[in-house]
Symmetry: C2
Amino acid sequence: MARATQGLLTAEPHLVEQVITDDARINLLAEKCEEHACSMLALQSPVARDLRTVVTAIKAAEKIERMGDLAKHVATTARMRYPTPAVPATLVDQFAEMARCGVAVCEHLGQVIAAPTGGDFRALAGADDRVDALHREVLDAVGLADPPYPIQVAVDVALLARYYERFADQAVSVAKRLDYVVAGTMPDEPPT
Amino acid sequence: MARATQGLLTAEPHLVEQVITDDARINLLAEKCEEHACSMLALQSPVARDLRTVVTAIKAAEKIERMGDLAKHVATTARMRYPTPAVPATLVDQFAEMARCGVAVCEHLGQVIAAPTGGDFRALAGADDRVDALHREVLDAVGLADPPYPIQVAVDVALLARYYERFADQAVSVAKRLDYVVAGTMPDEPPT
């Protein structure tokens, strides 16, 4: 998503192509992850925390795969409009911040996946709230702009903002699952 | 989604409220489904087809829960614009057909979940292709309309079309999983 955003906001086509290639790799990795998890279920009959870990791996792999799709959607939108930037200069800051929040959650997730500690869900939900606020801000800016943005720009921006919002949602949802692995109970839903 | 669409296209607020209530119920049911599946994994250590069925239940519950969210998004968009219809008269037919395709896949899914037979994935992928084509048609209509739609209408329509597209995607993805339960191997990806 970091690379897709750089491609989107600077209209650099080579970054965009890399994202599209990487998405295919993420899809394969997610599939392997699920296969491996199912083998463990079949062969080792895990229980308690081990079982929660394996079920979480199955669900997290799918969510992370979906996050790759969303980054690809950002990349393909950038490519479709190239060499015109898909995001107007007036909204670049909001998109850059949505990306930063989403990517920060991902980086944190990477650490928590490697060394599950639990209790991180609430901190990450704060980043998700910020992305939700920026998402609304972008939609309001599009609805109220005077003179209005061209229709194509308005539509692109609305869809792009949604991709970022979903990306952060999925990342936080993985974090919530990781909390569940450690605690055995699901944390409360983030405010929506 | 049938009810959300009726609410969207006829601007009848009581239908919309029902969808929002039902979404909360779907969320609870999905949670119970996962809990039950995890109990089965822990207590019965299923293997082979039984294991595939339980893992499929976990993944399908999440996808169906997500489909409820998408129907709720349609409903809340209708409510936000009430009493103005969110979809302009010129695009009502496309939305009605997207809804019909998505709902037909769901009804079929209901039957296949009750009595898994496999091999239905390819037939359902056809409905998904039709929704994808309508999705593109709506986006093109919005991009090319002359005189242009008001910005708010264009943005609503683009997001709504995406909700229907995702709804059908998820439904077909559940169908694919059900094929997997029966066959033990995943069917090929639908063309994207």
